[in-house]
């Protein structure tokens, strides 16, 4: 079961008013390569992962991805907090404001709502782990794009932390794949 702790994994600092970023950060909040996709993908794939190391890894990384999802939601919330409607419209967030006000919404940077079509759970551990490796690389690339899109040092710092976590998760999934591939040819006696 899941427990919640009333703190973020890493602090979120918003130092200037880069309101356009609120729209672009939705790519990592409810987009195809977002933390939400990653969290739900790993937490769904863990049921059919054969090795206990794999189950533990998918559970823990999935939970950490939900914590990252919270960080991105906090960033969007802080960027939109208190901003008047005319300024939002000028910065390109008019559609978001019309439909969601200053709320955070799990859609991608263009407003397309999140869908489970972004993830897949095959039941085959090699296929699942390869998809997880690809997902971590896609998330890392998205973070690099987002870091290039802003010049707010506080947001850049948090995005850099999140990007490093994606790289580390990629390494961990590589380990899990190695373990699964080593397990496959071993003799199993029943």
């Amino acid at each position: 079961m899941w427990m919640y702790e009333k703190k973020l994994e890493y602090p979120v600092r918003v130092e200037k008013c880069d309101i356009k970023m609120a729209k672009y950060l939705s790519a990592q909040y409810g987009g195809p390569d977002s933390e939400l996709s990653a969290g739900i993908r790993y937490l769904t794939q863990r049921y059919t992962m054969p090795l206990e190391q794999g189950k533990g890894l998918l559970t823990d990384i999935g939970t950490e991805e939900l914590a990252h999802w919270e960080i991105i939601g906090t960033m969007i919330y802080k960027l939109l907090k208190g901003v008047p409607a005319e300024v939002l419209e000028r910065e390109g967030l008019g559609a978001h404001f019309a439909e969601h006000g200053r709320a955070v919404y799990p859609g991608d940077a263009a407003g397309v709502p999140w869908t489970a079509a972004y993830i897949q759970a095959h039941g085959d551990p090699v296929a699942d782990l390869h998809e997880d490796l690809a997902a971590e690389q896609k998330a890392r690339a998205t973070y690099e794009h987002l870091i290039n899109l802003t010049d707010d040092t506080g947001i850049k710092d948090t995005l850099r932390f999140l990007r490093e976590r994606e790289v580390v998760h990629f390494q961990r999934f590589g380990e899990a794949l190695r373990l699964v591939n080593e397990y496959k040819p071993t003799k199993k006696i029943y």
């Binding site: 919640y4 702790e5 009333k6 973020l8 200037k16 208190g82 506080g154």
Partner: protein, 117 residues
């Protein structure tokens, strides 16, 4: 109502109006005052964040290398430090989860939530 240049530790968009912010433009009665952050809370939370991140990182490593004794030693030491820090935090500011003993009124709901810090 004039706009407040950010002056809190973790910053907020400078459009924050002083004294609070409207939760909706048409509904003036959703106006909510700015939640004051207790002194020292952010510094303590950052220390807990650092130690807990260390623990999470070691936990992920131990998931795929469960028999690495050195890592297990570091992990147990870090968990000990984390428990002390969380105990110190709980005495001053209340519990971080709703699985801990609380005073009256219920402490878990109070105070700035993580996205309001």
């Amino acid at each position: 109502m004039y706009y407040n240049p950010y002056n809190n530790y973790w910053g907020v968009c400078p459009y924050m109006p002083v004294g609070g912010y409207p939760m909706g433009d048409a509904m003036k009665y959703y106006y909510q005052p700015e939640i004051p952050v207790p002194k020292g809370m952010r510094e303590m939370i950052v220390k807990i964040m650092e130690t807990e991140f260390y623990v999470v990182e070691l936990a992920l490593y131990l998931d795929t290398h469960p028999s690495d004794e050195n890592a297990i030693k570091l992990f147990n030491e870090a968990v000990g430090r984390l428990d002390e820090l969380k105990e110190a935090y709980r005495e001053k500011y209340g519990p971080l989860t709703h699985y801990e003993k609380t005073g009256c009124p219920y402490q878990y709901v109070q105070g700035p939530w993580p996205w309001e810090l």
